[in-house]
């Protein structure tokens, strides 16, 4: 299976001399198309930084990043913006929805930024909201939604421009168990639809749903496990969330 994403010797350092911090330290990563990879580790181990590097939100100090067949670590800011617009979708722990926009306006925003017509952007947003089960909430403001619903809106927004890769940073970090199950099911749907996912988490229940689990410590990968149950099996039972 071909790699959608690969990194070689990826490094991100802060400071210099004695105060040098290696947030990401020589990471080699390959993610195949349609694969779900979970990255686990304690707080501060560099997993969010890794996600930001891969998604073009941050600049690497060294190493290479290849996404969808092209090297992206040396792109200009403008080209990186285009990359985020077309090839990458983000899901954040804090949702990062715009409170002054309705649900559907939040979801259609990436399409509008990508230059799609308002009609096409709205149609795509409507379809995505139906897909995440929130088609009835399109005109609501995010503040009127529960945490789980907000995260589903964020997922819908991440899919707006049909990205080749969705990056999720602690997607259930702010959610209760029921909402976590909602989001897990959504990721399972995405996985089954062939969406490539990289999920950074410290929640073992989320990690257990992935095809592959990578453990990270002090900026480096320390363990890698291929999970056979994953999202193809009985998600709820495996994650221990169904009562």
């Amino acid at each position: 299976m071909s790699s959608i994403l690969s990194t070689r010797g990826l490094t991100r350092t802060y400071g210099d001399g004695e105060s040098l911090v290696r947030a990401v330290d020589g990471v080699d990563l390959d993610v195949a198309a349609g694969e779900t990879v979970a990255v686990m580790g304690p707080s501060g181990c560099g997993k969010s930084t890794l996600l930001h590097l891969v998604g073009g939100l941050d600049r690497a100090s060294g190493g290479e990043i290849h996404l969808a067949g092209r090297r992206v670590d040396q792109l200009t800011e403008r080209a990186l913006a285009r990359l985020r617009r077309t090839d990458v979708g983000f899901v954040f722990q804090a949702f990062h929805l715009m409170d002054e926009l309705t649900v559907i306006e939040n979801v259609e925003l990436p399409a509008l930024l990508a230059g799609r017509s308002p009609r096409a952007a709205r149609a795509r947003a409507t379809e995505l909201l139906r897909r995440v089960g929130l088609d009835a909430k399109g005109d609501a403001l995010p503040t009127a939604l529960s945490g789980g619903q907000r995260q589903r809106v964020a997922v819908a927004r991440a899919l707006s421009n049909e990205p080749v890769l969705v990056l999720a940073d602690e997607p259930t970090g702010n959610l209760d168990s029921a909402a976590t199950l909602d989001v897990l099911r959504l990721f399972e749907d995405l996985h089954e639809a062939g969406q490539t996912l990289v999920i950074v988490t410290h929640d073992e229940r989320i990690a257990a749903t992935a095809d592959r689990l990578i453990s990270m410590r002090d900026g480096a990968f320390v363990d890698e496990t291929r999970l056979t149950g994953g999202t193809t099996g009985h998600l709820g039972a495996l994650a221990g969330l169904e009562g």
């Binding site: 939100l57 941050d58 913006a81 985020r84 715009m98 409170d99 509008l112």
Partner: protein
Amino acid sequence: MLLAIAAATTTLTLGLAIHGVASDPFQSSRETTAGPDVTAVIMPDPEGGAVDPAVLDGLTGADGVVDHSGPYPVAGATLTHGDRTMDVQAVGRDTEPAAVDRPAVTDGDWVRGGGVVVEAAFAEATGLQVGDPVTLAGRSFEVAGIAVTTALVPYPWTTCLVHCVLGQLPEGMRSAPGAVREPGTVWLTVTDVEEIASGPLSYVSYLKLADPDDAQAFVDAHNQDQPGAPRLEPWQHTFEQVTHLERNSQRVLTTGGWLLGILAVASVAVLVGGRMADQTQRVGLLKAVGATPGLVAAILLTAHVAVALLASAAGLVAGRLTAPLLSERTPGLIGAAGDPALTLRTIAIVTAVALGVAVTATLVPAIRSARTSTVDALNDAARPPRRVGWLVALSSRLPVALLIALRVAGRRPRRVALSIASMTVTVSGVVAAMAANAQLAAQPILDADTETQRLGELLLIITVTLIALAAVNTIVVTWATVLDVRHASALTRALGATPAQLSAGLSFAQVLPAFVGAVLGVGGGLVLYTAVDPDEVPLPPVWWLAALVPGVMLAVAALTAVPARLAARRPVAPLLQAELA
């Protein structure tokens, strides 16, 4: 906060000080110089033939006349000072003070044999000083003094006591033989005037009436439209001529003062907004260590009242020192369009505004903190943005930069209203100044017309001050906006907006209100000037007005470019992570 309030209070002091400039220099000069109520002149026939000054004596005994001086002889002559040659009208006066019209000597002494006294505006325009040697009609004199009078209009629009020409003659008209051009006025002894005269003399008498308000009626009753009859002019005519530009100066100062004051309040409003946002986390910290909302308010109030008092004192001093630049003394009169004064009212208003800023910036966050949880205050939770639905819908149909701009603007409608108001006030002032300049340019002007030049300078200073304050407002509002939308900006970039699109969007968010303000300001400026000066309808060149709106937009784009560019290039990841911190 000290510097910010001091800047605002300086501007406010300046505005209030020059707004209070409404003293009447003509009236005070008239009282000091025992100015006449009626001036009566009799001139010889241009073709030759002397006049009898006794004709004027008939007026001195007329009903209503309670005092008089004159008749005094007047001769047209050429004055030479160094290489310069100027026309003058030389009035013969007694060495003793007269009952009516006692020119106030501002430098040197009154007339003496061989000593000439020069009218103050003429002296200022020509650079004549006490002690200067001059030649009058070929005879040597020394400048004995400089004096002010209200019996005639000061140089260069001098009341002619001999046949004279002011400015360009209308086409087809010829000046009288021997007429002097744009003369200044000098006083000599009667003997000296009679000696320098090269032809028949004119005579002038000054009359004091029982009731100065009857001057026009007296003139109407005694003016005879026939050769050899005296020409009478009421004091109101001199007043109108003298105070024409003076009143314009006062109008400019008063209107400029109001505009500066409004802009200062707009600056203060922006500062208060920023200050309130800054206070939130500090209030949370105080609450977290056990302070009650009342104690929090007391602590913040004490600190800020001290700062505000210090800032207002600095502002008052700076404003008072700056105000004279906008209100210089007028030559030809005693006093000025107004010496700006630091009145108790000004001090009270400026101090009240500064204290108001401090109290508002203190109490509102304290009250807010009482209503919100300590945790939220500690987290410095951002004020929720407003939603303007139609603006969001409209923005969806626009290019990305404009989409961002409209949505940024829509988040804070009050800030946008403030920007529009600020720009409307500024452009109104600029347009009014342009109209006034157009009016000045259209009227006949003499080379030595220092009053008109001064008015032009006054307009320029006020215009520059208005623009500078508006520029500061624009930069402050832009920074406030940039800080307010930093999370939304980071998210927009994470979702695919390029730095250039975001930078342009943040800049356009300021340019759009500026555009609205500029359009309103163009109309408002013409309305403002028409309201201030309803008698004279000005119209600046249309292309000036047409260029003003794009000019304002370009200027705002330039002013906002740096903060917008800096904001658009901030690293995205730390900002998105910050909310989790």
